[in-house]
């Protein structure tokens, strides 16, 4: 299987792959890094949104 990289299509078996997981306060991110030798030739990123965005009606009321 060949993988698209900055060097064109490269056999997967010729690449070294590592996943780096980063976690923030509202997300988790996985960086899938593909190296040809020591050179980074592909990086895909997967982001999971962990925290919703909320709009809160504090003491909201209708009318007087």
């Amino acid at each position: 299987m060949k993988v698209f990289t900055t060097k064109g299509l490269i056999e997967f078996s010729d690449l070294r792959v590592q996943d780096v997981v980063e976690t923030g306060d509202n997300h988790r991110k996985i960086l899938s890094q593909y190296f040809l030798g020591d050179e980074l030739v592909r990086q895909s990123v997967f982001v999971d949104a962990l925290r919703p965005l909320e709009a809160e009606a504090v003491g909201g009321k209708v009318g007087g």
């Binding site: 900055t6 990086q43 895909s44 990123v45 949104a49 962990l50 965005l53 009606a57």
Partner: protein, 156 residues
Amino acid sequence: MANSSAICTSFKTELMLGAHQLGSVTIVSRTSLTSPTTDSLKAALYLTTGSIGAGTTAYSSTNEVSGTNYTAGGVSVTNATAPTSSGTTAYWTPSAAITYTTVTLSTAFDTVLLYNSTQSNRAILAYNFGSTTVTAGTLTLNMPTNDSTHALIQLN
């Protein structure tokens, strides 16, 4: 000023004006009373040097990312899930992951802006997921479960 995560304040106002049709249509849709359609949403990416957040009112190309296979304005967002509620919480989440395929975005970016491309590119929300770059790869923004605890937008 940095990018930040927020439901855009203008979106809250526009909800009360009926300016957005997310995932479902109603008889008061603006374009047609007989065959109304949902609005089209898009997602644009912004550099870490941007200032996208609660005060953003509409899509702008200022500080938007650029790179191989990225088109200004971003990509379409699948908008097939109708807003709903549970208890006192109303909620909505895009119905599929947002994906930028085989892009190279070499300058650090950290924020996606969801906006309504049918309604004058009005801003909906900004989400800051931390600085990153993509090299000849795919950026996938996975959406949370669409329920009252996890949904991307929650109105409490």
